[in-house]
C-alpha cells in the first residue's frame, strides 16, 4: 500500500515537472529537457522503490552489539 502511495507521489512529481517545463519553460525545443526530467524522476523513484521494498519484510532484525 505504502509502496503504491509513494509511487503515486513520484508520478505526481513527474506530472508537475512536465507541466512546469511545458507551461513555464523557455519556448523552443524541449525534447532534451523532458528526457532529463523523465530519467531523473525515474531514477529517483527506482532507488527509492528498491530501498523501500528491501525493507518491507525484514529477514534480519537489528541487534545490539554485546
Amino acid at each position: 500500500m505504502g509502496f503504491w502511495l509513494g509511487t503515486l507521489v513520484f508520478f505526481l512529481i513527474q506530472i508537475v515537472t512536465t507541466a512546469c517545463i511545458n507551461f513555464f519553460g523557455k519556448p523552443g525545443k524541449k525534447g532534451l529537457t523532458h528526457i532529463m526530467a523523465f530519467t531523473t524522476v525515474f531514477q529517483c523513484w527506482f532507488i527509492w522503490a528498491i530501498i523501500y521494498m528491501a525493507q518491507m519484510n525484514p529477514l534480519i532484525n537489528p541487534e545490539y552489539k554485546e
Partner: protein
C-alpha cells in the same frame, strides 16, 4: 488544449539525440575574391573544408608561399613575445582588431622591427659583457690586492730559492749563478674569479698538477654577474702564486677548464691604484651608454607589446585562410577556385548570407556559387552542445566520436552518470560539500572562465555542471542511504523497529503495552526484548531505517540490500543500452539487425538476469527465505527439478525456469547464424542481378526517392556493414557489395555474439562495483567519524577535540571528497563506457571541425603544448 500542451514532449526532435544533419556543398569562388570570401566564411565558422589536393604535398600547393610567409611572421612574433616577456612587459590583449592591416605592410614592419631588435640586443649584450668584465676586474683589484700583499709578504725570496732549485730542469746548472732577483721574477701569479662551487675542486687539481708547488689565496666576493652568461653567480676571487713557466702553462689550462676568468693584475701597488681609478671611470661611462640603450630598447618593446596580440591574431587568421585556400582546387582557365565543404543543413542559410554580404563589400561582379553535392562519404559528427551538456558530451567523446547520426549516449548519460556516481557516493554531508564547490564554480563562471586556471583546476571547472549534478544526486542518495557524514538522521520519523518480546508479542507493563514508547537502546538490557518490525507496519517511508546504524546486523542487511540494488540497476541500465540499438536500427532501417540482434539480445539478457531481478523483487515483497544463488545455480545445473514449495517464489517456477533457460540458449545461435547467412544470400542475389540497373536501384534507389535518407549513408543498402565494428563499410555505404566476404562477416558475428553472451554475465557482475564502492564509502566515513571525531570528543579535552576535528576534516576532504569521489567517478565512467555504451555505440565517426577564426588561438596553443 491544456492537455495537449501538457503531453507535448517534443520527442520527435530531441537535441543531441542524433548529430546534426550535414550536407556536402561545392563552392565556386572567383579567384580574385577568394581571399575575402574565405575570411567571411571563417567569421561564420560553419564550414569544414575538404582537402581536394591530398595528392599534393604542402610545398606544391598554390598558396604554399603565403603560408611560408605567415610562418616566418609567426616566428618573428614569437621572438617578439619572448623579448617582451623577458623585459617584464605584458602584451595588451585587444578583443577586436582596431584597424585593417595589409599583410605585406605588416610583413615589412615586422622584418624591420626584428632587425632593429636583434642589433639592439647584440649591442646590449656586448656592452653588458664589457661592463661585467670591468666590474669583475674591479672586484679582483680590490680583493686580490689585499691578500696579494699579505701573500707576498709571507713568501721570502730565499725560501723560494731553495724550493725552486729542487725542481730545476737542469740539475747541472750552477746554483749560484742565478741571481736572487731573477729567481723571484720567476715566481709568477695569476689572479681571477671562479664560481664558488668550483673552488674546492679547482684547488685540489691545482695542487696535484703542480705537486704542491703553488700557493692559492682565495676569498668570497658574493654575487657577481658572469660576463659570459650574464647571470648572477656567487664567486670567489683567487690569486695563485707559482714558480716556473711549466706551472704557468698548467695553471692557465686548469683555469680555462674550470671557467675561471683571469684578469691582468699589476704587481705594483701604485699601478694597482691607477688601474682601479681607470676601471671606475670606464664603468661609469659604460653605465650611461647601457642605460640609454636600455631605454631605447624598452620603448621599442613597448610599442611592440601594444600591437603584438593584434598582429598575432592577424597572422594566425591569414595563415588559416591560406591553409583553407590550399585545400581548394584551382581551375586555371576560368579563374575559379573550387571548394568542397561540409555544412550543417540548418546553417546553410547563414553561410549563404555571409557569402552575399562579402560579395557586396568586395563589390565583385562574380558571385560565389554554392551547390549541394551528392556523396557517399560519411559526414562528420556535429553536436550543438551548450555549457551544461558539454562535459557530458566530452565523457562520451573520449570513448569515441559517434558515427554520423547514430544515437548519442550522452542524452541518457546526462542523468545516469551522476546517478551511478551518487549510488557510490551517497552521503548527505559529503554531497553538501561537493555541491558547495560546484555552486561556487557555477556562480563565478563568468570571471573564472576568463582566467587561466591551470590543468587540474581547469578540468574541474570544465566539468562544473557535471559536478553539480553529481552533488545533487549524492544529496538524494545520501538521504536514501540515510547518512550524514555517516550518521543517520531522523528526518523521516522514528524507526519502524520496536522493542518486542522474543516471541513477537508486545511488552506489557501494568497491563498496558509500552512497546511503542521504549527507547530501542534500552530494549535489550532493561526489557530483555528484541527489535522487530510489527507485522502490519510499513517500512521506513524514505530511505534506510536509521536504527540500522551501528547495529551488529548492519552489514549483513546493507550488503544484501545493496548487492540486489546493484543488480536491479545494472540490468535496467543494460536494457536501455540494448534498447538504443533498436533506435539505431529503426533509424537506419536495418530490420535484419532488429530481428537477428536486438530481439535475441533482449531475450538472452532478460530471460536470465531480468528474471533474477524479478525474483529479487518478489523475494522482497513476499519475505520468503529463498536463497537466490541456489535458485540461479540450479536453474542451469538441474533444470526442471521440483522445488520446495516453501522456497518457490512463483508458482510453477521450475517449469518456467526450464522455458527461460531453453529460450535463452536458443537466442545464442539466433544471434550468431541467421544474419551472416541472410547477408550472403542478399549479396548473391545482387551479384546475379548485376549488369542490370538493379544494383543501382538497390544501392541508390532509396536515396533517390527519399529526400531525407540522403543523410543516411548507412540506410537500406548499408546493412552488411551494420553487423561488425571494423568492416569496410564504415566509410559510406557504397561499394561494399563488390567485396563481400562471408568469412569475415561470420567471424565478426561470432565475436559479437561471444562478446554479448559472456558480457551479459560479466557486465552484470560488473555492476556489483556499485555495491562495493558505496559500502566502502560508508564504512570509511563511519570509521573517520567514530574513531577520530567521536573518540576525541569523548576524551572531553578541548585540545584533543580540536586535533580530532582537524584530522577528521582532513580525512574527509582528502580521502572521501577527493580520492573516493575520484574512484566513484572512474567507476561510473567505466560502467558507462563498457557496460552501457558497449551494447550499442559504434563510435567510429569523426568530429566536425569547422574552419573558424574564433578558436584559432586555442587550437594553436593545443598544438604547441
Amino acid at each position: 488544449m491544456a492537455l495537449n500542451k501538457l503531453l507535448d514532449f517534443g520527442f520527435d526532435e530531441i537535441e543531441l539525440w542524433r548529430s546534426e544533419e550535414m550536407e556536402l556543398v561545392r563552392l565556386l569562388i572567383p579567384s580574385e575574391s577568394a581571399h575575402d570570401t574565405v575570411v567571411a566564411l571563417g567569421e561564420v565558422g560553419l564550414l569544414q573544408f575538404k582537402d581536394l589536393n591530398t595528392e599534393k604535398s604542402a610545398f606544391q600547393r598554390t598558396y604554399a608561399n603565403q603560408v611560408k610567409r605567415c610562418d616566418e611572421m609567426a616566428r618573428r612574433l614569437r621572438f617578439f613575445q619572448e623579448q617582451v616577456e623577458k623585459a617584464g612587459l605584458t602584451p595588451t590583449v585587444r578583443t577586436s582588431p582596431s584597424g585593417k592591416h595589409e599583410l605585406d605592410d605588416l610583413e615589412n614592419r615586422l622584418e624591420e622591427l626584428e632587425k632593429e631588435l636583434i642589433s639592439m640586443n647584440e649591442n646590449t649584450e656586448r656592452l653588458d659583457r664589457t661592463y661585467n668584465e670591468l666590474v669583475e676586474l674591479q672586484v679582483v683589484l680590490e680583493h686580490a690586492g689585499k691578500f696579494f700583499d699579505k701573500a707576498k709578504a709571507g713568501v721570502r725570496p730565499d725560501a723560494f730559492e731553495r724550493e725552486f732549485s729542487g725542481a730545476q730542469e737542469n740539475p747541472d746548472a750552477p746554483l749560484l749563478e742565478l741571481g736572487v732577483q731573477e729567481k723571484v721574477a720567476r715566481v709568477g701569479f695569476v689572479a681571477g674569479t671562479i664560481p664558488q662551487e668550483k673552488v674546492n675542486a679547482f684547488e685540489r687539481l691545482l695542487f696535484r698538477a703542480t705537486r704542491g708547488n703553488m700557493y692559492l689565496r682565495q676569498g668570497s666576493v658574493g654575487e657577481v654577474k658572469d660576463p659570459i652568461t650574464n647571470e648572477s653567480v656567487s664567486k670567489h676571487v683567487f690569486v695563485i702564486f707559482f714558480a716556473g713557466d711549466r706551472s704557468r702553462i698548467k695553471i692557465m689550462k686548469i683555469c680555462e677548464a674550470f671557467g675561471a676568468n683571469r684578469y691582468p693584475f699589476p704587481d705594483d701597488p701604485a699601478r694597482q691604484r691607477q688601474m682601479d681609478s681607470e676601471v671606475t671611470a670606464r664603468i661609469r661611462e659604460l653605465q650611461t651608454t647601457i642605460d640609454a640603450g636600455e631605454r631605447h630598447r624598452k620603448a621599442l618593446l613597448q610599442t611592440i607589446a601594444a600591437n603584438l596580440d593584434e598582429w598575432a591574431t592577424l597572422v594566425r587568421r591569414e595563415k588559416a585562410v591560406y591553409h583553407t585556400l590550399n585545400k581548394m582546387n584551382v581551375d586555371v582557365t576560368s579563374k575559379v577556385l573550387v571548394a568542397e565543404a561540409w555544412v550543417p543543413s540548418v546553417s546553410k542559410a547563414d553561410v549563404q548570407k555571409a557569402l552575399r554580404d562579402s560579395a557586396e563589400t568586395s563589390s565583385t561582379q562574380l558571385h560565389v556559387i554554392m551547390q549541394p553535392v551528392v556523396t557517399h562519404d560519411s559526414p562528420p559528427t556535429y553536436y550543438r552542445t551548450n555549457k551544461f551538456t558539454q562535459a557530458f558530451q566530452n565523457i562520451v567523446d573520449s570513448y569515441g566520436i559517434a558515427r554520423y547520426r547514430e544515437v548519442n549516449p550522452a542524452v541518457l548519460t546526462l542523468m545516469t552518470f551522476p546517478f551511478l556516481f551518487a549510488i557510490m557516493f551517497g552521503d548527505f554531508g559529503h554531497a553538501i560539500i561537493m555541491l558547495a564547490v560546484a555552486v561556487a564554480m557555477v556562480a563565478k563562471e563568468k570571471t573564472l572562465s576568463k582566467m587561466d586556471l591551470g590543468d587540474m583546476f581547469g578540468m574541474l571547472f570544465g566539468g562544473r555542471y557535471l559536478i553539480l549534478m553529481m552533488g545533487l544526486y549524492s544529496l538524494y542518495t545520501g538521504l536514501i542511504y540515510n547518512e550524514f557524514f555517516s550518521m543517520p538522521t531522523y528526518i523521516f520519523g522514528r524507526s519502524r523497529f520496536v522493542c518486542m518480546n522474543p516471541d513477537g508479542s508486545d511488552i506489557m507493563e501494568n497491563g498496558v503495552s509500552i512497546t511503542n514508547s521504549i527507547d530501542p537502546r534500552d530494549c535489550k538490557h532493561l526489557y530483555e526484548g528484541v527489535l522487530k518490525m510489527p507485522e502490519d507496519s510499513a517500512p521506513y517511508v524514505f530511505g534506510v531505517d536509521p536504527i540500522w546504524h551501528g547495529r551488529k546486523t548492519e552489514l549483513p542487511f546493507l550488503n544484501s540490500m545493496k548487492m540486489k540494488m546493484s543488480i536491479l540497476i545494472g540490468v535496467t541500465h543494460m536494457d536501455f543500452g540494448i534498447l538504443n540499438t533498436l533506435f539505431n536500427n529503426l533509424y537506419f532501417r536495418d530490420r535484419l539487425s532488429i530481428i537477428c540482434e536486438f530481439i535475441p539480445q533482449m531475450i538472452f539478457l532478460n530471460f536470465l538476469f531480468g528474471y533474477l531481478s524479478i525474483l529479487i523483487v518478489i523475494k522482497w515483497c513476499s519475505g520468503k527465505m529463498t536463497d537466490l544463488y541456489h535458485v540461479m545455480i540450479y536453474m542451469f545445473l538441474s533444470p526442471g527439478a521440483p522445488m520446495d514449495p516453501k522456497e518457490e517464489l512463483i508458482s510453477g517456477q521450475s517449469g518456467l525456469q526450464v522455458f527461460l533457460v531453453l529460450v535463452a540458449f536458443i537466442a545464442i545461435p539466433w544471434m550468431l547464424l541467421p544474419k551472416p547467412l541472410i547477408l550472403k544470400k542478399r549479396h548473391e542475389a545482387m551479384q546475379a542481378a548485376k549488369g542490370h540497373s538493379v544494383e543501382l536501384t538497390q544501392n541508390y534507389g532509396a536515396l533517390a526517392d527519399d529526400e531525407e535518407s540522403r543523410h543516411r549513408p548507412h540506410g537500406g543498402a548499408a546493412q552488411p556493414s551494420a553487423g561488425g565494428h571494423g568492416e569496410g563499410g564504415g566509410h559510406g555505404g557504397h561499394g561494399h557489395g563488390d567485396h563481400f566476404e562471408f568469412g569475415e562477416v561470420m567471424v565478426h558475428q561470432m565475436i559479437h555474439t561471444i562478446e554479448f553472451v559472456l558480457g551479459a554475465v560479466s557486465n552484470t557482475a560488473s555492476y556489483l562495483r556499485l555495491w562495493a564502492l558505496s559500502l566502502a564509502h560508508s564504512q570509511l566515513s563511519s570509521v573517520f567519524f567514530d574513531r577520530v571525531l567521536m573518540l576525541t570528543i569523548s576524551l572531553n579535552s578541548p585540545f584533543f577535540m580540536i586535533i580530532g576535528f582537524f584530522v577528521f576534516a582532513c580525512a574527509t576532504l582528502g580521502v572521501l571528497m577527493i580520492m573516493e569521489s575520484l574512484s566513484a567517478f572512474l567507476h561510473a565512467l567505466r560502467l558507462h563506457w563498457v557496460e552501457y555504451m558497449g551494447k550499442f555505440y559504434k563510435g567510429d565517426g569523426y568530429r566536425f571541425a569547422p574552419f573558424c577564426f574564433k578558436d584559432l588561438k586555442d587550437k594553436e596553443e593545443a598544438a604547441s603544448s
